[in-house]
């Protein structure tokens, strides 16, 4: 922490005060238990307002499943944040984009296709589908250089760390 002691999050007044979610997970990150780590970040306007890095409760048996568990966790957080946001705006807010990097998981949320490999994650699947249909969230593909949630699921090198850190609103310059 020494060296970045004066870093904090800056929230700046912006015109586009909308919520964007980023979700990701590694797969099988803990070699001893086979458990994956989920991470999400929610940004509102210029800075991150909510984030989490947490080991999943059970080992996932595919990357898609691990990503799906992470998306379900992120979705629950978005539902809560939208409630706060809608209260502040005193109006309904538009569907919140949730950025993920797994196209298969995006397809899965759109189609009612059950197959053997995903049968056991049905509850999470239902939760996500429900919120996609209710237009609470929509899943969107994101590119490697904007995968902010990476910072919560793996150890990053200096360049990526500093880029994502800035994208979360972290800075050591408090003034405008």
């Amino acid at each position: 922490m020494k060296g970045t002691q004066d870093f904090g999050i800056k929230y700046t007044q912006v015109d586009d005060f909308s919520l964007i979610g980023y979700s990701d997970s590694d797969f099988d990150g803990d070699k001893e238990t086979g458990v994956s780590t989920s991470g999400y970040a929610m940004s509102l306007g210029s800075g991150a307002v909510s984030w989490r890095s947490r080991k999943q409760s059970v080992p996932a048996d595919s990357t898609t499943e691990a990503k799906y568990v992470a998306v379900a966790e992120a979705t629950k957080e978005i539902v809560w944040l939208r409630k706060v946001h809608e209260n502040l705006q005193v109006k309904k807010v538009q569907s919140t984009p949730l950025m993920i990097d797994n196209t298969f998981a995006i397809k899965l949320a759109k189609n009612l296709k059950f197959h053997d490999r995903t049968k056991h994650i049905n509850t999470k699947y239902d939760l996500i589908r429900h919120h996609v249909e209710a237009k609470t969230i929509h899943l969107r593909h994101c590119y490697t250089n904007e995968k902010i949630a990476d910072i919560f699921t793996k150890v990053l090198g200096r360049e990526k760390l500093e880029r994502f850190r800035t994208m979360l609103g972290l800075t050591n310059i408090p003034s405008d």
């Binding site: 922490m1 904090g8 800056k10 706060v84 910072i151 760390l161 972290l170 800075t171 003034s175």
Partner: protein
């Protein structure tokens, strides 16, 4: 209901009294699972109020209203109005006309002191890349309690420092 300072039911009695007053002032629990956040809506004005024991923090989407709420609360409780928030639960708040900055510089300084790391060399990333950690190799901690205290303290630091979440 009467309660005395220092009794184990005193904090609960205080919280109930405060909640009762807030409800009278037309505040509502924002969420029934959350004891600390209250909200009051009057037309297009929304006031949020956070309670941490006897530290109250208010914000709104409209300039008006805060003064009258403070006045009302002041009738029932002995209160000190600290104005704009600068420090809350170890978090430093720097407010500018168009931005708000949240940091824990003092908290980090205290931690470095407490764990004897004020003279250490700064690193560029919070965790070594390609590090393999196992529970069977290596030696055990000399001071397990101290390690647990440090992890707990660092966890609190993630309030303003999401960049260290994964490493912790």
């Amino acid at each position: 209901m009467k309660s005395l300072d220092g009794l184990k039911q005193a904090p609960r009695a205080w919280y109930e009294k405060l909640t009762e007053h807030l409800l009278k002032l037309n505040f509502n629990h924002f969420d029934l699972n959350d004891a600390t956040l209250f909200v009051k809506k009057v037309g297009k004005t929304v006031v949020y109020l956070v309670v941490y024991v006897d530290d109250l923090l208010m914000t709104r989407n409209n300039e008006s209203y805060i003064a009258s709420i403070k006045k009302e609360l002041g009738k029932s409780f002995e209160m000190t109005d600290l104005g704009y928030v600068h420090y809350y639960l170890g978090i430093e708040v720097t407010q500018h006309p168009k931005s708000i900055f949240l940091s824990q510089e003092k908290y980090i300084g205290d931690l470095l002191n407490r764990f004897g790391m004020t003279e250490c060399n700064p690193l560029t990333t919070p965790m070594e890349q390609n590090l393999k950690l196992t529970s069977i190799e290596g030696k055990e901690f000399e001071d397990e309690t101290k390690y647990k205290q440090l992890v707990g303290s660092l966890n609190y630091l993630t309030t303003t420092r999401p960049d260290i979440s994964f490493a912790i």
